[in-house]
């Protein structure tokens, strides 16, 4: 019975799958394939295309600006994994217990910045960091910490940290709700038994919560890596990659090469490089979990 109902003529099937496949293929798959082709050419958008095979890639490997930008991506990833995931995990552990007051309010307000456009968030923070009208310096002055005041977004030594604070602030809510969902999945009985056995709060956290949340934490780390490899909006609006190139990231580099220098062939190669780097990092972050799972399975045998 069921097999008859859900069998469909191939022609109709193709027709049904067509709209999504066309959109998806046209925007995601064909550009990927074509950029692989362009990456082998020296091309500035006009009629002249010189086949130079791997020269663009060789140039990419020694492109200091690109690797400096990639270093900034990595810096952001590390800072953000430590602080964003760390803070949101602690917050989730604090908010999830039923006796916490205003649980819904906390979740609502901490998640709020996640839905606001990164461009608008960046504009606001540019004002917050502003040396003349910024509230950050006003606050510092009012609590007597004038010595800490600095040009937050125009000091090459601090700019990447200033930017990372904004990204951390904006997306803590995303990780918070992911962790809260994970924590709610842990049965209360486990904690009750541990409590009766005399386990301290610290032990309950390190021996129950963290091990049971490991999968969720790995997912959060992956998400964070993927999200931070594509950072663009915040940097573009707050610093434009500056001062100099001190806060540039890989997406900014690809953009600059295409739109300021019109090096399409090289930008295509850079795009492929970005795809490879981002995907490898995401897979790399999956590795610990895969190994842990394998070990568990072997342990059970």
């Amino acid at each position: 019975m069921q097999s008859n109902v859900f069998k469909v003529k191939p022609r109709l099937l193709v027709l049904l799958l067509l709209p999504a496949s066309l959109v998806y293929g046209f925007i995601i798959l064909t550009p990927l394939i074509f950029s692989l082709r362009y990456s082998f050419f020296k091309w500035s958008g006009g009629k002249n295309m010189d086949f130079i095979f791997l020269d663009n890639y060789k140039r990419l490997l020694i492109d200091e600006d690109f690797w400096h930008a990639f270093g900034n991506n990595i810096k952001l990833v590390v800072l953000i994994i430590i602080f964003q995931i760390g803070i949101s995990f602690i917050l989730a552990v604090m908010i999830t217990p039923r006796r916490t007051l205003f649980q819904a309010f906390h979740r609502f307000s901490i998640f709020l910045p996640v839905v606001v456009a990164p461009v608008v968030v960046s504009i606001l923070w540019k004002l917050i960091y502003n040396t003349d009208v910024g509230i950050l310096n006003t606050v510092l002055r009012s609590i007597g910490l004038e010595s800490l005041i600095r040009p937050w977004l125009s000091d090459p030594d601090y700019v990447i940290y200033s930017v990372s604070v904004v990204i951390i602030w904006q997306f803590i809510g995303l990780y918070l709700v992911i962790f809260m969902a994970g924590l709610q999945g842990i049965p209360d009985e486990i904690y009750e038994v541990a409590y009766l056995d005399g386990a301290s709060a610290y032990h309950r956290l390190t021996k129950i919560t963290i091990p049971l949340m490991l999968d969720t934490i790995v997912v959060a780390v992956m998400l964070s890596i993927a999200g931070n490899m594509k950072v663009f909006d915040h940097i573009f609006v707050m610093t434009g990659g500056g001062p100099g190139k001190s806060s540039s990231v890989i997406a900014m580099e690809a953009y600059g090469n295409a739109f300021n220098k019109f090096q399409y062939g090289y930008s295509a190669a850079m795009s492929i490089g970005i795809l490879i780097l981002s995907l490898s990092l995401v897979f790399l972050s999956r590795l610990p979990l895969a190994i842990a799972n394998k070990r568990n399975r072997e342990g059970q045998m």
């Binding site: 496949s21 998806y24 456009a117 461009v119 663009f232 609006v237």
Partner: protein, 277 residues
């Protein structure tokens, strides 16, 4: 003693959480407060409440920075995106969850790959392709682009939701003589409303807030969307802060309204999307 300690720690925990919550919403409150201040008041006091409500910041943001044009463009591209994603996402999700055919697994994985592909790597390739086809400066191109980014999550959400509907639904419909399209749209479509509302809200947010692709695919001023308009606005040399803040309020108001009414769908949709990706 132990109970007292626990009580104290609970008080501290609650105070700490309140501080964090306030830090999260304060910058937005600050924006709203200062968007209504006169330029003069803003320059001397940007922390307090406005002395009087000044609406001219908004009229000036609309007149001199053309926020109204950007707003309409954002609405057009966002609505187009939502329509494409709902129709294509629903059909594809339904077909992939119900029908039996050979290439099903492959088709499904190709779509799910979209959640993994770092889309910023597509910026330049897509620009080159759309330029060659003369499709730059076109809100429809923008909508198709956003649709492609939102489709994988939409397909995933619909596919997993349809799985929870008993197949007897369709079997009964066929016995009553309904055809495939009739069953799909008249019987199943209404049943998937909860998941479709999540898809609508997530797609709306992505399209409304998107920046880099709008930046490279649109350079005609009359077609720019709000994020591009705001970024240009803030990059001007002599920025009028109160006007900029009024512009920001216009830009985020629709998002805040949607968030206020649909925050459950947004949160649950983002969690599922994240855990899948």
């Amino acid at each position: 003693m132990k109970i007292l300690l626990r009580k104290i720690s609970r008080v501290f925990r609650n105070i700490f959480l309140l501080v964090i919550s306030i830090t999260s919403i304060y910058p937005l409150l600050w924006t709203f407060m200062n968007a209504f201040k006169s330029r003069k008041q803003f320059s001397v006091d940007n922390m307090g409440l406005p002395n009087e409500l000044v609406f001219s910041n908004f009229t000036r943001a609309i007149e001199s920075s053309e926020m109204d044009v950007y707003f309409i463009n954002s609405i057009i591209s966002t609505i187009l995106t939502v329509i494409i994603v709902i129709i294509a996402g629903f059909i594809t999700g339904y077909v992939l969850s119900r029908y039996v055919f050979k290439a099903k697994k492959i088709v499904y994985s190709v779509f799910m790959l979209g959640m993994l592909i770092p889309i910023h790597g597509l910026m330049i390739p897509l620009f080159i392709q759309l330029k060659a086809l003369g499709m730059l400066n076109n809100l429809a191109s923008l909508a198709i682009t956003y649709s492609a980014f939102s489709l994988p999550t939409a397909i995933f959400l619909v596919e997993s939701f349809v799985k929870t509907i008993p197949p007897e639904m369709e079997e009964a419909a066929y016995i009553d003589g309904a055809n495939i399209m009739g069953t799909m749209f008249r019987i199943i479509f209404p049943m998937t409303k909860p998941v479709l509302s999540t898809v609508v809200v997530l797609t709306f947010l992505n399209a409304w807030n998107e920046f880099p692709f709008a930046l490279i695919l649109i350079n005609n001023k009359a077609l720019k969307t709000i994020p591009i308009g705001m970024a240009n606005f803030s990059g001007e040399f002599s920025v009028e802060y109160t006007q900029l803040l009024a512009g920001s309020v216009i830009a985020i108001l629709p998002v805040l309204l949607v968030y206020a009414f649909f925050n459950r769908q947004i949160v649950s949709g983002m969690i599922t999307g994240a855990l899948k990706g």
